[in-house]
Symmetry: C2
Subunit: 302 residues, 2 copies
């Protein structure tokens, strides 16, 4: 599976000349997903050469302006360009009220369905089940309802080890390919899957965690992902401020990456008080080596 993540916006609530409000574009072969949609996301898409019309799924983490204020403009633009295909929209339930009031007063009539799925911030939940990938939401801990997202390639059927399965019946083979053990009526394992099969692929995964206070409970959901984006609004010298505002420091983001055993960490959502992002890298990489700074327009290929 071709799996690419492009940072469309990497600032905190205060934009800068080089950083727009939060948004990531995820390309899974021809399926384009948008994670968060801060103001001017449609402009960033155009700037970096992407077509908004290719989006089919949009995920909104929470209802702070810098994470959703570009959504209404984006949906209106899609409509203006005669889109017919549905958009699947995953967001806190209150977003529906915001959409309704905006569309009512602008007297907007949509040519395409907006399939709205309300996220919950109580549990790890599979919210999208497509042919080749799954998307899960999970609770983050912020000032308001906020979720992270995990996008994970589906496992391909396991391959059978020919000499070890030659005398087994077809229904056993089917179960073994799906990764299941063969169990007798009493619940005893009679054939352990990993003894007679091997995996074809190591499913790729990417997790998005913004905005949140330091919240190690999320490590269980993002364990071992290829790429973790985690907010790092502050440096340790402003740890108290991070706590007060329900944000993280670079060190805390790196601690999450380390505890979750991820392969690569990208940090962003920097407070404008810091002029030099090198300090974020220094602080984070002392805990977790493979840390990168989110920059608008950067693409990560998994």
């Amino acid at each position: 599976l071709s799996f690419k993540i492009t940072i469309l916006g990497s600032s905190s609530a205060t934009i800068s000349k080089d950083r727009g409000h939060s948004s990531h574009l995820v390309q899974l072969e021809n399926i384009h997903l948008l994670i968060d949609c801060g103001e001017a996301t449609q402009i960033q898409l155009k700037k970096f050469g992407f077509k908004a019309s290719k989006l089919s799924h949009i995920y909104i983490s929470h209802l702070h302006g810098d994470h959703y204020l570009g959504l209404i403009g984006l949906l209106l633009s899609l409509n203006l360009h005669k889109r017919k295909e549905p958009i699947n929209l995953y967001a806190p339930p209150e977003l529906m009220d915001i959409l309704v009031v905006n569309f009512k007063f602008s007297d907007s009539k949509f040519n395409f369905p907006i399939n709205f799925f309300a996220t919950n911030n109580q549990s790890f939940t599979c919210i999208t089940d497509e042919k080749k990938f799954l998307v899960y939401s999970f609770p983050l801990k912020h000032r308001i309802h906020c979720t992270g997202f995990l996008i994970k390639e589906k496992s391909k059927p396991r391959k059978l080890i020919a000499e070890k399965v030659k005398n087994l019946p077809p229904n056993y083979l089917k179960m073994l390919k799906q990764g299941l053990d063969i169990i007798d009526k009493n619940g005893n394992v009679i054939i352990k899957n990993e003894d007679v099969t091997y995996p074809v692929n190591q499913p790729k995964a990417y997790a998005y965690c913004s905005d949140t206070i330091f919240y190690p409970e999320i490590c269980q959901y993002i364990k071992g992902v290829d790429l973790l984006y985690h907010e790092a609004t502050f440096l340790e010298e402003h740890k108290d401020r991070a706590n007060e505002t329900y944000h993280c420091t670079a060190k805390q983001a790196a601690t999450i990456a380390k505890q979750a055993g991820v392969k690569k960490l990208v940090i962003g959502h920097f407070s404008p008080r810091y002029k030099d992002t090198n300090r974020f890298i220094q602080e984070a990489s002392s805990i977790f080596e493979h840390t990168y700074i989110a920059n608008d327009g950067d693409t990560y290929v998994l």
Copy 2:
């Protein structure tokens, strides 16, 4: 009075690489007014070197996304930067519902007052009366409630012609300076103002008309202004489409400018179907010579 207008965004609902959504910055000495606030207006302000913090008055013509979707982000940014001074906001009454629902779900608490004034689209109305200028709203004709705005320098007191007023009492002189005639008990003019005074300044004025169908009724409100911004979404070859969508052609905008006897016309809000703005100039200037194309970042000094 120093009176400058900067085009922050000049596109129609479809943005382009060079044109953002509608917004004009009006600088009247140290007082900064914003007319319309499409998505990413706060980014455009930064790009062209202006400080959003200097804004004190914001005027929204109507509730189509390309004219107001940058407002919530702008207000949130002002709040984030600890603004204390009030913002005077003039807009269709329904905007209040939109603000309330957005601020409720983001749990936003404002450090500064937002003084909301609902515009009416029935009559020419003075909505702002400041020391040196006045702002009027007046009805445009669009698919939804929409108003134009006229920003006009106040007249300075007229100068008395010394030899003609030497024997008049002080209360007469005061009235004459204010531009009033002297009238007796029966309503007969006994001293005609213009016979004994002369004007000190020719008050400067700028009018903003977007979005609207061809609507010559507005000429009475914008008569003789130094600068008229009028939308010209289409060319005459798509006049039917202009009518259907309640927009204007370049020729129609020029006809308004001519009928109203304005000094200069700036046209914008171009449909993306036209690649070359020269065609707009050609069409408009055949009717009204002093026509200019709105370009993001351009400043007009009155």
